[in-house]
């Protein structure tokens, strides 16, 4: 037997020096080529590989070979009760109960992307208390709302993982008041709250309890009208107001976002800088920035009108802005005329703004005026992209070029692209959390 037989597990059906066909193994005896090099990895490494697999694939490794049989139980559990596991409600319950009773723990990730509460609160609570989920690093907990009039309380046991969680995604649930003391997340880097009912003080406690938070997504929550951000580590904030979950009369939606202190903030998406009477749309956020956000490089915003004034006000807050994405919602009767005062320059237009993307561009007066502002004033612009709703035939494009005064552009090196695009809304998710991307909308739009 070769020396490295000792490093592989016992009880193989074939002697270690022989491969499947009965030929002796090629290569040097120690650390060289061998046919089963994945088997030579220590259990811990195999465990982390298995832990990355989807639930079913992970469990199936038990039948690969004798060596692999005990490894599923030894690997940190990844339990995702989504459609990959099963699409049937009843089976979802059964599978989750089964797996949680089989696995001794610890767990890496637990995802319930849509579970029907009904009369199962105690059972769900039991799951969250189970030993199998000890040490949980990632949680994804969403109810499926069947009756909007009923409460959907988050079991407090979901928060017992607070000391170890790195990624948390809660949705369609209500944060009960009594969980406030539990909201200490020393490891949490990524937090998403979607259609969650959470009171203002509870939300603030939550954010205070996240000393290393890097990205925050707030999508259609209610119960908190005003949010202050104080975070030395936060790099990205994504906000959406559209609340898909009906919630009785007059739910309190987020209306004021105050960024008091966020020295690392790089991304703010999307924003609603418009104020004023709303006849069509539902709710707006007034953005209040008490300090200039020098670190922010990418901003996405929605504007109704479009409203050039509020966009420009925003630009003043981000002196180092490099990329701007504007979702423009056309309204009748909007006149945009903003004359740029060279004595009071806007820093980002002078030195930093390289890319502007106007989504939902109709080519009508109001958005021509908006776009023209950038054409004529962004001095280091490299690229401007128009996502056109209507079909952009050559004649239309030639007309646009004329109206936008592209020949008079402030940045000689700028290129202008008209693209057919049906992209009519920002989808916050990966844009908020994929921090490694310099440009969160890169793959979607700007090729």
């Amino acid at each position: 037997m070769e020396e490295d037989a000792a490093s592989t597990t016992a009880k193989k059906t074939k002697p270690d020096g022989i491969d499947g066909q009965g030929h002796p193994k090629i290569g040097s005896p120690a650390g060289g080529q061998s046919f089963d090099s994945i088997d030579r990895l220590p259990d811990e490494v195999l465990g982390s590989i298995i832990s990355l697999l989807p639930t079913k694939a992970g469990a199936r490794i038990q039948i690969l070979s004798r060596r692999w049989r005990p490894l599923w139980r030894a690997a940190p559990l990844n339990l995702d009760a989504g459609c990959d596991l099963t699409c049937q409600d009843r089976k979802q319950i059964l599978f989750v109960s089964k797996i949680l009773s089989d696995h001794p723990g610890p767990a890496r990730r637990f995802a319930l992307p849509g579970i029907r509460l009904r009369d199962r609160y105690a059972r769900i609570d039991g799951w969250l208390r189970s030993r199998a989920l000890t040490g949980l690093r990632e949680i994804d907990f969403h109810y499926e709302i069947e009756n909007p009039q009923l409460p959907y309380p988050l079991p407090p046991s979901a928060l017992r993982f607070a000391p170890t969680l790195c990624v948390a995604d809660f949705g369609n649930c209500d944060f009960p008041r009594e969980v406030a003391p539990l909201l200490k997340f020393p490891c949490l880097k990524q937090l998403s709250l979607r259609s969650v009912f959470v009171l203002e003080d509870v939300l603030h406690s939550l954010l205070c309890g996240c000393p290393v938070l890097e990205s925050l997504l707030l999508d259609g929550n209610f119960g908190c009208g005003c949010l202050r951000i104080n975070s030395p580590t936060l790099r990205s904030i994504g906000i959406s107001l559209f609340c898909l979950r009906e919630r009785g009369e007059n739910p309190i939606l987020l209306q004021v976002l105050i960024i008091e202190d966020a020295p690392c903030l790089e991304r703010l998406l999307p924003l609603y800088p418009d104020e004023g009477p709303a006849t069509i749309r539902v709710k707006m956020i007034a953005l209040s920035l008490t300090t200039l956000m020098r670190t922010v490089k990418v901003v996405a915003l929605d504007t109704w009108g479009p409203n050039l004034d509020s966009v420009v006000d925003l630009l003043k807050c981000f002196p180092c802005l490099q990329k701007l994405y504007i979702m423009s919602h056309l309204q009748n009767g909007r006149k945009n005329k903003w004359s740029y005062n060279p004595l009071d320059p806007i820093e980002c237009l002078e030195s930093h703004l390289r890319q502007v993307v106007v989504m939902k561009y109709w080519g009508m007066r109001p958005d021509v005026d908006l776009a023209k502002f950038f054409v004529l004033n962004a001095k280091v612009l490299k690229k401007m992209v128009f996502g056109c709703i209507s079909s952009c035939n050559d004649k239309w494009m030639a007309n646009q070029r004329r109206r936008l005064q592209l020949n008079n552009r402030a940045s000689q090196g700028a290129r202008f692209k008209f693209k057919r695009s049906a992209y009519s809304t920002f989808a916050c998710n990966s844009h908020t959390h994929d921090l490694w991307k310099d440009d969160p909308f890169d793959s979607h739009f700007c090729r």
Partner: protein, 336 residues
């Protein structure tokens, strides 16, 4: 000679190098800043002072072969540069793991022994992507894993997460037939009060099965047995015992299947009493039987069960040379 000449030589000489020695004896010279990116190497330098010359090269762990070392140094060389953007690093990483699976495994092993966690994470993810979405056969093929589990061992975990209704139904059929046979045996035993001989024969069957399966049985048997929960079936078989209505084939199958079960139990705990409890796990309520499986599928499954039984039959017959005489002492145990 002169100071100016020395001054020219100096910048080169000042650059620090580390010497690393692989298990096969080959020595490699590496920039210090690259080498210290590996925690294990860094520790060797700091604690033991090795690596600063060719004669005192740091001996790398056995799992680091020269090819992997070369890749690891490329990785370190790229990532230890501070100015790079996240996107650049991610792009590099994606390309870096596009290597042959064999290489990837060796690289993971080497990175793990050098405690270079970011690289271990990267390669682990790559390996997970390879495994994901593949059937067990494909995985065994790619990684040259030995297929050394018995059929029953393979079915066991799938009882937990069954995506294959066929397997579930197969399990149920096995259990049903075992139950039928249990009942049969009990009925038989009542009759056997008079016919002592047949009881003796039963016992000898056990012994024979012991003989067949004694050593060759699964090593993990005891463990699996203890894991199994002994659940009694809540209801009896929905269909009346098939033995009566089915042709001789199935009857034979019905008789033989429990032998298989017995033998498997026997292999774990040799010569156990065949009066086993129904210890098959039923993770699903029986309502699941109405899983939309059409009669054709059920038939196919019956055939599979029979096939299985037949295979077992032939094994039994081959090793037990009793011949037709002894075989016929079992009622219903007729070959097709």
């Amino acid at each position: 000679m002169s100071e100016s000449e020395l001054a020219v030589i100096k910048p080169e000489a000042l650059k620090a190098y580390i010497w690393l020695q692989c298990f096969d004896g080959s020595i490699q010279q590496v920039d210090e800043e690259v080498a210290i990116f590996c925690p294990m190497i860094c520790r060797e330098i700091v604690k033991n002072g090795t690596g600063s010359s060719k004669n005192h090269a740091i001996t790398l762990p056995q799992r680091v072969n020269p090819a992997s070392l070369s890749l690891i140094l490329d990785y370190c060389r790229f990532h230890q540069v501070t100015g790079r953007s996240n996107k650049e690093r991610k792009s590099f990483d994606e390309k870096f793991v596009r290597i042959e699976t064999e290489r990837l495994c060796e690289l993971t092993s080497a990175a793990d022994s050098l405690q270079l966690k970011p690289l271990v994470d990267l390669t682990s993810r790559a390996l997970a992507r390879i495994i994901e979405g593949k059937t067990p056969e494909e995985i065994r093929d790619i990684f040259h894993l030995p297929d050394d589990l018995t059929e029953e061992e393979k079915l066991e975990p799938l009882k937990n997460i069954n995506d294959d209704p066929r397997i579930r139904l197969l399990n149920r059929l096995y259990a049903k037939k075992r139950k039928e046979l249990q009942e049969r045996h009990e009925r038989q035993k009542l009759k056997d009060v008079q016919v002592q001989k047949e009881q003796k024969d039963e016992r000898s069957l056990d012994e024979l099965l012991c003989f067949i399966n004694g050593d060759g049985g699964s090593g993990g048997g005891k463990a699996t047995k203890s894991k199994k929960k002994n659940k009694r079936r809540k209801d009896h078989a929905k269909n009346p015992p098939k033995a009566d209505s089915e042709p001789a084939n199935a009857e034979g199958a019905a008789c033989v299947v429990p032998c298989k079960v017995d033998s498997s139990n026997v292999s774990r705990l040799p010569c156990q009493n065949p009066d086993i409890q129904d210890d098959v796990e039923y993770p699903f309520e029986d309502a699941d039987l109405d899983d939309g499986l059409d009669p054709a599928m059920k038939e196919e499954l019956d055939r599979e069960v029979e096939d299985f039984a037949r295979r077992l039959n032939s094994v039994w017959n081959d090793s037990h040379i009793g011949g037709n005489g002894s075989v016929q002492r079992f009622p219903g145990f007729n070959h097709r």
